[in-house]
């Protein structure tokens, strides 16, 4: 920046004073930058005004004009619906950013300039929300647990907790193989598997002469996602291990099926919930013929457009019905 500070234009973070960053690639060679930017509401300035309610409000209002960490509910639902229907996400980078009108007016008037400006704002906001929905909806995965920060939570700072019921590898053991004096101890959170997939508990010595246990082993071996592995140290020791990601998915499906649920989203049991209405409508969309040429919607692109248009029309609809904490986990 060779322009004097007083002559610099104000950006989204205020008047830029300085910035520094470094370009990097991650393990999948995706380019990204790490950097610091100095300008606008710097931490020192925030600290100086934090004790004054009026100044603090002004400062936060200024920040809120540029930063938003909310996504309208319909986009959360659209994201969920896309996953539910296995519709591929669009390639956002190939869609052009909507261009503003030649003359922009930030107002509520009925003149053509104001109307055109508002139309562009809606189109632009939709474009932005679609990108956030497709590319910035975080779901916990293996990388969240890497490094020091991953030991205490999501290292990507996503605030909601990990779903320990379905995303953590568990050591699965045959109940009858557990000695009586250890059964109580193993009812708590199970010990995680090591990187090689070996059990961290080497004291289990199942009695393979027992017909009852053999019968139970046969039953467990029929469960998808479970496999018997031979331990090199103990050739006669058989364990039930969740061996890989695909098996984990099968195991999850089995567990959900046992509960009478399908893999994927679990619609709230409350029939008045807007979510249920949306899922019903999605099914109807799949069955509806197109108006112009009577050809049914048959591909993901057309279905996504139809779903998107329908859901955006519910932009201002309030979610009603009693949504419990358990129901909220669908998102």
């Amino acid at each position: 920046m060779d322009v004097p500070t007083e002559d610099r234009d104000k950006g989204i973070c205020g008047v830029p004073l300085a910035n520094r960053d470094v370009k990097e690639t991650n393990k999948r060679t995706a380019l990204h930058i790490h950097g610091q930017f100095y300008g606008g509401a710097q931490p020192a300035l925030l600290a100086h005004v934090a004790h004054d309610a009026e100044l603090l409000k002004d400062m936060l209002d200024a920040i809120d004009t540029q930063v938003c960490q909310e996504l309208p509910l319909v986009y959360h639902m659209l994201y969920a619906a896309q996953r539910y229907l296995r519709v591929p996400f669009r390639r956002d980078t190939t869609f052009s950013i909507p261009e503003p009108p030649d003359v922009y007016c930030n107002g509520n008037g009925d003149d053509p300039v104001s109307v055109a400006s508002r139309l562009w704002e809606r189109e632009y906001a939709h474009h932005v929300n679609m990108i956030i929905m497709n590319r910035h909806t975080h779901e916990h995965c293996g990388t969240c647990l890497h490094g020091q920060r991953g030991k205490t939570g999501c290292r990507l700072c996503c605030p909601f907790g990990h779903d320990t019921a379905s995303t953590i590898l568990r050591e699965l053991i045959i109940p009858a193989a557990i000695p009586n004096n250890q059964q109580e101890a193993t009812e708590g959170p199970p010990a995680p598997l090591t990187a090689q997939g070996n059990s961290s508990n080497s004291t289990l010595k199942p009695n393979h002469n027992s017909n009852e246990q053999h019968h139970q082993q046969q039953q467990h071996s029929n469960i998808p996602g479970l496999s018997h592995t031979e331990s090199a140290a103990e050739p006669t020791h058989k364990e039930l291990l969740v061996t890989n990601q695909a098996d984990r998915r099968k195991l999850l499906a089995t567990r959900l099926a046992a509960k009478g649920l399908q893999r994927g989203l679990h619609p709230p049991s409350d029939g008045r919930c807007l979510y249920n209405a949306i899922v019903d409508q999605l099914i109807n969309i799949q069955r509806l013929p197109q108006a112009d040429d009577d050809v049914p919607i048959h591909n993901g692109y057309q279905l996504r457009e139809a779903v998107q248009n329908w859901m955006v029309s519910y932009r201002n609809t309030k979610l009603h019905g009693d949504v419990t904490v358990e129901d909220a986990t669908i998102f």
């Binding site: 950006g11 989204i12 973070c13 830029p16 910035n19 370009k23 060679t29 380019l31 930058i33 930017f37 300008g39 519709v87 591929p88 669009r90 390639r91 980078t93 190939t94 869609f95 591909n299 993901g300 692109y301 996504r304």
Partner: protein, 75 residues
Amino acid sequence: MLAMRLSHPYTGPNTFPATCPDEYLQALHGQGFAEQVQGEFDCSEQTLQELALANPVAGALAFDALIENVRTNLF
């Protein structure tokens, strides 16, 4: 999209990659393999991944242009 265009050799001012034909954009916007292959343009996921792998300089140039654009117009 810029990286993909930079990955192809220049053939003339009125042809791809100097211009972006509608057929090319349709192939890029396609959701399945059948939609991602339009005429001479193959924008299937495998082809794009191979293209990016074979042209890392194009990807770096496109990323640099993006970052400079953000610095200049947003910050």
